[in-house]
Amino acid sequence: MIFGTVRRLREAGVLGLNERNNRYTLAYNPRYLYPLVDDKLRTKQLALKAGLSVPELYGVIEIEHQIKGIHEVLEGHREFVIKPAQGSGGDGVLVVAGRAKHMYRLVSGVIMGRSQLAHYASNILSGLFSLGGHPDRALIEYRVQFDPLFGAISFQGVPDIRIVVFQGFPVMAMVRLPTRLSDGKANLHQGAIGAGVDIATGRTLTAVWRNEVVTEHPDTGNPVTGLQIPHWDRLLGIAAQAYDLTGMGYVGVDIVLDRDKGPLLLELNARPGLNIQIANRAGLLPRLQLIERIAARPNTVEERVAFAKDHLAAP
């Protein structure tokens, strides 16, 4: 039974966690580059320098003392997002959707008092959500307004598009749709839906929700397959450029589509999750190996995107 499953997964080219770590992240992501992607502030600065759009930064809270002034920073902004600079997996991301008197209203409708928000920021600073429990910084940034396209298929949050980029080639993509369960965040293990996206066309394929294949959004009931993602070529371009930005050989690029500002680079992940394979109903290995085999490696972003669209179309 076990061996049968192993064989079939091998045939499907499914990448497992051990193999991802050993063959890809350890081999292609040099340790000294990690701070660039693990710290969202540095990623943002890099992206801005390279001319990519990112959600506007309203402020950074670096030390406990600054927390007192947090409400002044937030003065002019009804909506914003607070998140740990070194968080991962959606932990610690707080999406504020408005005000209720002088209190803050989260996307889920929960009201948060001023002192609660300050406490939350202090938790971020003390490293509650950061990777190794290190002291951290809290970023306050523009809350992305989602594209109307996604209105019907996401619940109270911004869907984001995850593209796995290997040596500068976008190899697999999915769109992650927040659900009631995921609380406005688009991270799969927080309960978001992931729908595979055809690299060649930008159309959504099947979707997974908590490791199950689904075809409709569990909260809105609308179909999630067959949708065309707008600005697809630009999205692929941003993803491919992220490689030149950091030099990380194997990254997951998170992009959001803003109603007004178009695609914004949200963050980079040095250890992108593997569920993207379930959403695409395809294994990553054949695609990664295809890239590894390329003899004459195209150098420009456009060439790499074109190569990916030609060779990695969904069957």
């Binding site: 192993v6 193999e19 379930i278």
Partner: protein, 510 residues
């Protein structure tokens, strides 16, 4: 560096480790199974009495290292008593004292005794100062002289004479002279006393040994006195029961001289037991002694050359890598999620003291209670580090409370909760509560159970007598574990849980 490098390195490490392992078994005869051919004993003396309420003084002779038996480790358990050990007339004596005590008291002395290869030469003993003549009078003196005379006539030398004397003393029904000295029903003590008097009369220096024999089948070892007689620079021993010459190899001497084994001042209803138990560690020391002869250099640098106490630490320490290796397998091959990387191993280590079942119960109790307090703290909105400290304090309080409650319920096992690594417990509670809040109770409980299962397995692997023995006697097996870990570091196969996770991809497309 590539996988090739790792494979070669692992191969060399395995070769070295396994090679040494096999060499030690085949060439040096190290035991693979624990407890073979043991010659290490645990000796325990327990003195119990009822203190009268005033000051109490207890003195007791404690064993000495002889040419055949070495006292390698000893400890005293005496709640509230002050303890000193002194040399009294060449005997080692422990003295317990307390200013005020009442009620039932128990004092313990424990030691480990190891058999040595008998030394060839014994040092020449000085002739003791002449003893005063015994205070025998009238018929007793006459009887003694007659006994001595007949014994002399029936023997060739001093040794046979002493044997004859003892034999006579045990036969009061045949010999009226003996009956006069020992009474109608002689026992070992009376025979000893009579023999000493007779030898003093004959101007032969003699003394009594007090000790126990280690290899008697029953658990309790009675105090047995042995007679020693001096001649020509040598003390030779005689069995006071049979008159046979020679001291048995398993005779552990507590004291030399007529004084009783112990004295209790300030207490009554005195009772003592001596228990002897053969420990299982022994096969190893035996092999070490043999090994020392075959290839001394090799053992000089082995763990066996360390003091006993340090050795017992290493017995535990060397088992830890086994637990760690198991953890690697559980995490990277099976894919079980745990809180913290090594937390299950440390908890498993704590289970050694509590035993598995109790350990699980106590762990769950502390974590559950700690978690509820942690949830309460969450509402107070505390800064992270102070909150961690607060949880730590609560954990220690909980452990103390659990110990007190269980002690009153008579569950002494639960006292060992104190050995749980509290920092680890605190971090477990903290992480669990965060996972609980962020990912929901299901995930938190799942990870908690995962940690617990791995901890239990790590405990079973680490605490097995077999593991402990193997790793301690053959620390080179660590090289094999190291090789295994390096190889697993290059493992690229699926984790077992991934087979379920990617189930949808394994079934053919619809």
């Amino acid at each position: 560096m590539g996988s090739r490098h790792v494979y070669v390195l692992s191969f060399l490490l395995t070769l070295l480790g396994a090679g040494l392992f096999i060499y030690k078994i085949v060439a040096l005869g190290f035991p693979i199974v624990p407890g073979e051919k043991s010659d290490l004993w645990d000796v325990e003396v327990r003195i119990s009495f009822v203190a009268r309420g005033g000051p109490v003084k207890v003195s007791m002779f404690i064993p000495r290292t002889s040419s055949r038996l070495a006292v390698v480790d000893e400890n005293f358990i005496s709640r509230g008593f002050g303890l000193t050990t002194t040399l009294v007339n060449g005997n080692r004596q422990a003295a317990w004292a307390i200013r005020k005590a009442s009620g039932a008291q128990a004092l313990y002395y424990r030691s480990s005794v190891q058999a040595l290869e008998p030394a060839e030469e014994e040092t020449v003993a000085k002739r003791p100062e002449s003893q005063p003549l015994p205070s025998l009078e009238g018929p007793y003196l006459a009887a003694a002289e007659t006994l001595l005379k007949s014994a002399r006539e029936q023997s060739a030398d001093l040794d046979t004479m002493v044997a004859q004397l003892i034999k006579h003393l045990w036969e009061p029904h045949n010999d009226s002279n003996a009956a006069l000295l020992t009474g109608p029903r002689p026992d070992r003590d009376r025979v000893a006393e009579a023999a000493l008097q007779l030898l003093a009369l004959a101007q032969v220096p003699a003394r009594l040994l007090q000790g126990v024999r280690l290899t008697l089948p029953s658990g309790e070892a009675p105090m047995l006195s042995w007679l020693q007689v001096y001649s020509e620079g040598r003390w030779s021993a005689f069995d006071l029961g049979t008159g046979e010459a020679g001291l048995p190899g398993d005779y552990l001497i507590f004291s030399i001289g007529p004084e009783p084994l112990f004295k209790v001042k300030g207490g009554n209803k005195v009772h003592y037991t001596i228990a002897v138990r053969r420990t299982e560690a022994g096969g190893l020391e035996a092999a070490a002694l043999r090994g020392r002869i075959v290839n001394p250099q090799l053992l000089e640098f082995s763990l066996l050359s360390l003091p006993m106490q340090t050795q017992s630490v290493y017995r535990v320490l060397l088992a830890v890598p086994v637990g760690a290796f198991l953890l690697v397998i559980m995490r990277n091959i099976v894919g079980i999620k745990t809180f913290g990387t090594f937390m299950p191993v440390l908890i498993g280590l704590a289970f050694r003291e509590t035993q598995l079942l109790w350990g699980l119960v106590l762990f769950c109790a502390v974590v559950t209670l700690g978690l509820s307090v942690r949830f309460y703290f969450e509402r107070l909105k505390l800064l992270l580090v102070p909150r961690l400290a607060a949880v730590l304090i609560v954990v220690v309080l909980l452990m103390a409370a659990l110990s007190i409650v269980s002690h009153h319920l008579g569950l002494d096992r639960a006292l060992s909760v104190a050995l749980f690594p509290m920092v680890i417990m605190t971090m477990t509670i903290e992480r669990m509560s965060i996972v609980w809040e962020e990912r929901g109770p299901a995930e938190a409980i799942q990870q908690g159970l995962g940690s617990l299962v791995v901890a239990a397995l790590a405990y079973l692997a680490m605490a097995a007598a077999y593991t402990e023995h193997l790793m301690f006697v053959f620390p080179e097996l660590l090289l094999v574990l190291l090789a295994g870990s390096l190889l697993l570091g290059k493992y690229t196969g699926y984790r077992l849980v991934e087979l379920r996770r990617f189930k949808a991809l394994a079934s053919p497309r619809p």
